[in-house]
């Protein structure tokens, strides 16, 4: 029997953790603000958070941050598409040929931990001071995790699934597209997620270094003008974009991963 007292027993969203997180952040800003106003921190090194927040409007109105954001996003997109196509293909080929995998996997893993951003002068020589240098830096830094996770995903396909394919007399191409690839996809996406994060970091970093492009160049410009509040506001904007980017990728990955 239903009564007026009946309640939904479904899980309630837990707001406590994000609220505590936000509260801690606001508290930290308040402490920094107080330290600067009391003269404990030098305002010519760290501008007061209130000034940084006030600068955000200026970034949108005077510094074309939206346009710069789309420029950087475009570079990330191109690097992302390239790394997805090329990284997965290389991973598949390496997994397919055991000798190649044994010969190269350590090198690829070493590349993943190398500071590839330092190679930007080489790409400047090859492509010039333009978006391709930035895209290539993003692409190169994103490549190792995609390759390694593709190898891991395909190698980790359960033997029984492969045997199901064999029992249905699948050709090698069908076996790949209908079993190996979909089985490996959640792991491959982990590689793509990591790769895109590395790509974003390196793209903004290279934009800063070569003073070209979107958000990285904006930070460089503002720093050279000694507009500290603007510089920090732009850095905060990049961090915010990265957080949103990371959350979107994480949700996509969760959606892609089948329920176990």
């Amino acid at each position: 029997m239903t009564t007026g007292l009946s309640r939904s027993t479904g899980p309630r969203p837990d707001y406590a953790a994000p609220l505590v997180g936000l509260g801690s952040f606001i508290a930290l800003l308040a402490i920094v603000e107080a330290c600067i106003r009391l003269g404990l921190l030098n305002r010519f090194i760290i501008p007061p958070p209130s000034e940084i927040i006030a600068s955000f409007g200026r970034l949108f109105l005077e510094e074309n941050i939206v346009h710069r954001f789309f420029f950087t996003a475009g570079e990330c997109l191109v690097a992302g598409v390239m790394v997805t196509v090329f990284g997965i293909a290389v991973g598949v080929v390496m997994q397919r040929f055991n000798l190649l995998q044994r010969a190269c996997e350590t090198w690829v893993a070493a590349f993943a931990s190398a500071p590839l951003v330092l190679t930007y002068p080489l790409f400047m020589v090859i492509f010039g001071r333009n978006a391709w240098t930035i895209v290539m830096m993003g692409f190169l830094s994103a490549l190792p995790p995609v390759i390694l996770k593709t190898i891991e995903g395909i190698s980790g396909t359960r033997k029984v699934l492969i045997n199901v394919g064999r029992s249905f007399k699948l050709t090698a191409t069908q076996q790949f597209w209908k079993i190996l690839f979909p089985a490996a996809l959640p792991t491959i996406f982990v590689g793509i997620r990591l790769g895109l994060i590395f790509a974003l970091i390196n793209i903004v970093g290279t934009e800063f270094l070569i003073n070209f492009g979107g958000l990285g160049q904006l930070i460089n410009d503002l720093a050279e003008r000694y507009d500290l509040a603007g510089t920090y506001a732009a850095i905060c904007f990049v961090i915010l974009v990265s957080v949103l980017f990371f959350m979107t990728l994480e949700r996509t990955e969760r959606w892609l991963r089948p329920v176990d």
Partner: protein, 278 residues
Amino acid sequence: MTPAAAPAEAILVADDIIVQFDTPEGPITAVDNVSFDVNSGEFLSIIGPSGCGKSTLFNVIGGLLGNYRGMVNVGGETISGPHKSIGMVFQEESTFPWRTVTDNVAFPLELIGMPKSKRIERARHFIKLVGLDGFENRYPGELSGGMRQRVSLARTLASEPKILLMDEPFAALDEQTRLLLGDKVLQIQQELKQTTLLITHNITEAVQMSDRILVMTYRPGKVKRIVDIDLPRPRTSEIVSSEAFGRYVAQIWNDLREEANRGMRDEEKNALQEERAR
């Protein structure tokens, strides 16, 4: 038993199957001169203790293992790999987690290029047959172990194999689910007159479902005896409480006990040797 001696209606003939594996201690014979046949519409179970080569035999008949001596003949054709007439249900969970129940069951139909609307209709028929109607759009991750095995069974049945080959499909399930699923398999087998070869180590399961039971010895796996199960059909799990059922279980257990003991002693000996080697 040789192929020549097999009855005319035998749809599957295994003749003198020998499988050897190379190990660091030298070659081990897993299956030794195993011969049997399965008649059309018959339910044959192969039973034996762990390590007797049942699953090896399953792989040989399914065409997944090529390195063996002897011959497997399906409908007059000697097989040299997976055969279209044999549908396999595996012991491990083998549904595709990225496909819904319908898409899993429609998989073999997709491979033969059946139009989408028709294959969905066919898939739904087999989903209903295994009693999963209402779960068509669920993913395997949302189903229990028993339900997933029924999806695998429906997927194999959708390919309309002449011979259904099952390797301990209920091994990972609890006893009650196992009995109920056994009922379901029996019902389907009787309805479709499906020739079925079941690999199992469960005596109750074998007696409940089979027309004949092939008892294997412990390593090397040989045919110890073939027992005809003369219990009335159609059968359900209710038959487990009958006196005749109990007699068959006792008879097969008598055959198996000695082999199981031998297996246990062998395992203990191996464990001791490993410990000494350490």
